[in-house]
């Protein structure tokens, strides 16, 4: 391999890792929701689309820097998740695990069609001056927005960890995940905790959308692809396993990028699915999962 080839390979790896970071962020939200509530959220990608369109709308209306819209998108995502859990999922009672699939599918459809009516089907992007800025090291060039996305992911996941392991709320969340009835008997308001967790998961998806916006264009069904990616990440890492979701995201990003670089671009989505199937066949509990579910 010559120098140029090596540089290209390192660059592909770096981009794969950073893209994987975004997958990790999306997967973490999904995994958290599953770990605590046993709810499979099919609307996850649509919540990401909401984050993207919030960024787009704020940029178009107030010329607001996309990264500042985090301050809007994250709380809006949280509130939306909280309300949806209270209004829809909480009412499913005992039928939560199967009912939640249909409910979240429906919610996803409502979201994507609302976005379609509001913003139209045309892919739209925002043009910020630093969209194509790069960070150079040797011959390797990495996009600044992609780096920021990687950094944002790291911060969000570190923050979630602090919340889970350093706060009273975190203890309550973990207790609810491990044994809802036991937690309830110890005075944890599990219904409230579940709403908070769903809010957090949605907020994570919305934040991922904000971080994606400078890199991608937004269109109403942009989320579909990411819902699939989130599922792959979650299964790779083990359902409900947060560190696993992070590792799974990184693995998926790298596998996709290297596959696209070495084999062919067109099977990009297939590489992830192949990895997904292999894991399901060989390690159903996930690459990093133990048979005991935990958050």
């Amino acid at each position: 391999m010559d120098q140029a080839g090596l540089t290209a390979l390192i660059q592909t790896l770096a981009q794969g890792l950073l893209t994987g970071g975004l997958y990790a962020l999306i997967g973490t939200g999904l995994s958290l929701i599953f770990g605590v509530m046993r709810v499979i959220n099919f609307a996850h990608g649509d919540f990401l689309a909401i984050g993207m369109f919030i960024t787009l709308a704020l940029f178009r209306t107030f010329d607001l820097d996309p990264y500042l819209s985090l301050l809007v998108a994250a709380p809006v995502g949280f509130a939306l998740g909280f309300v949806i859990q209270r209004l829809v999922l909480a009412r499913l009672g005992d039928r939560l695990s199967e009912g939640s699939m249909l409910a979240t599918l429906g919610i996803g459809l409502i979201i994507s069609n609302t976005l379609l009516l509001t913003f139209g089907a045309q892919p739209q992007n925002i043009n910020v001056p630093y969209a194509t800025n790069t960070f150079q090291l040797g011959g390797v060039q990495v996009s600044i927005p992609l780096l920021i996305a990687g950094l944002g992911t790291a911060l969000a996941i570190a923050g979630l960890n602090l919340l889970l392991y350093r706060t009273e709320l975190g203890r309550a969340i973990r207790a609810t995940a491990q044994n809802p009835l036991g937690a309830e008997l110890q005075g944890v308001k599990t219904a409230h905790i579940q709403a908070i967790v769903f809010g957090l998961g949605v907020a994570f998806a919305a934040v991922a959308g904000v971080l994606l916006m400078p890199l991608l264009y937004a269109f109403p069904t942009v989320g579909e692809n990411y819902t699939t990616k989130a599922f792959i990440v979650t299964v790779l890492g083990g359902l409900g396993n947060l560190p696993g979701a992070v590792a799974g995201g990184l693995v998926l990003g790298v596998v996709e990028s290297l596959g696209a670089y070495y084999i062919s671009n067109n099977y990009r989505d297939a590489y992830g699915l192949v990895a997904f199937l292999l894991v399901l066949l060989l390690r159903p509990e996930g690459l990093f999962g133990r048979t005991v579910k935990r958050v």
């Binding site: 660059q11 592909t12 043009n127 692809n225 671009n265 067109n266």
Partner: protein, 385 residues
């Protein structure tokens, strides 16, 4: 919004209709909605300007003309249904629209029904190569899109090039033509990457191309992909001497707007620009801009305008709306329009194809300027390195 425009357009056309033997109805298909709506908007404006011009000059055979516009919803099957509705409506000919994937199916259907199809915008080679007696095309085929870019590469002694193209009919057609031309020009193609619709991350592909460091890169893709490609090309730091686009997405005003500084120095093939020296180009540009509510027209609008003029002229020569006579009239048609000369010839394996060359323009200082050929008073090309 679009339906409203369409509605007012048909109203305007109806209003213009005189009762003298009724209007002459001409079929037209374009993408009012869906993925290609951006191009559809341009073409609706071109139709409007074309119809107004024909009717202002007294119409055809003493009657006003009117377009029956059907929406293909940017979908192959809906496009076929639209063609079927027009055939059943008894129109003398059908003006056929933008996307090669859609037009190919429609043209075959129309030919089977013995209805002349006048293609004015779609450019896949295989529409007129080998072609059919009933299919005519007034705009340049894909080969020409590739030729104008490859000519620039050859004139500047490029040794190597890379191709990135979508897998749609049009993109494939341009990219394949580039392959053939590169061979005959002695330019080596070091990478040829075809991507499927919906890809958003071109980085791995661009990394591969960066490692090969070609002199030129030819990209053939639709609107949003063009922006993503150029942004990511800057991002991964691939630096050919020239980035070139095979029209489509790259020739749209939105490309410059959305890609911003990433679009600088990109050369693109284009079918028509107002700086061309045919009679009436400037005036046409002004009228199209007015029809678009102040937006700059792309070549798709000029093509639609020329389509209406050619259809009207064919009906005039045929002396009526008999489909066979209209077909015969199209065969012998020669006319000058602000889009360029129109004449349907058989050459180089093409049939009923208007032999028209393309122009090339480059983004300089955030706006398109013509750079090739000599007929457009070209500005000096700027190179990346």
């Amino acid at each position: 919004m679009r339906t409203v425009t369409l509605f007012t357009l048909s109203l305007a056309l109806l209003g213009a209709a005189q009762a003298q033997g009724g209007t002459i109805k001409i079929g037209a298909i374009t993408s009012v909605t869906g993925r290609f709506a951006e191009f559809g908007k341009m073409q609706l404006a071109g139709f409007k300007v074309g119809v107004e011009e024909v009717n202002r000059r007294g119409g055809v055979l003493g009657r006003k003309i009117e377009l029956v516009i059907e929406d293909n919803a940017s979908d192959v099957n809906k496009g076929l249904a639209a063609a079927e509705r027009l055939v059943n409506a008894g129109v003398p000919l059908v003006l056929n629209e933008y996307s090669s994937s859609l037009v190919k199916a429609q043209a075959q259907y129309l030919a089977r029904q013995k209805v002349p199809a006048l293609v004015f915008s779609s450019s896949g080679d295989d529409i007129t190569k080998p072609g059919n007696d009933y299919v005519f095309r007034l705009n340049q085929p894909a080969t020409e899109y590739a030729r104008v870019i490859l000519n620039i590469f050859r004139d500047h002694k490029f040794k190597t090039m890379a191709v990135i193209a979508g897998t749609g009919a049009f993109e494939k057609s341009v990219a394949d033509a580039a392959q053939d031309l590169a061979k005959s020009y002695g330019i080596q193609i070091v990478e040829d990457q075809r991507y499927d619709k919906g890809l958003t991350d071109f980085r791995p592909v661009l990394n591969r191309i960066k490692a090969k460091n070609p002199d030129g890169i030819l990209m053939v893709s639709y609107a949003e992909d063009s922006v993503a490609l150029m942004r990511q090309a800057r991002e991964v730091g691939v630096k050919p001497r020239l980035f070139a686009g095979g029209a489509a997405g790259f020739a749209l005003p939105e490309f410059v707007k959305d890609a911003g500084s990433a679009a600088e120095n990109v050369v693109t093939a284009t079918a028509w620009i107002p700086q061309l020296r045919y009679a009436g180009t400037q005036k046409l540009n002004v009228e199209l801009k007015k029809a678009l509510g102040g937006q700059d027209p792309s070549y798709h609008a000029a093509q639609a305008y020329a389509g209406v003029l050619a259809a009207a002229e064919a009906i005039r020569r045929a002396g009526g709306t008999d489909r066979e006579k209209v077909k015969a009239a199209l065969n012998s048609l020669t006319m000058q329009t602000a889009f360029g000369p129109v004449q349907f010839k058989d050459y180089e394996g093409f049939r009923n194809q208007n032999p028209l060359a393309m122009v090339a323009q480059q983004v300089q200082g955030g706006a398109f300027v013509p750079v090739y050929p000599k007929t457009v008073v070209p500005r000096t090309l700027k190179f990346e390195r």
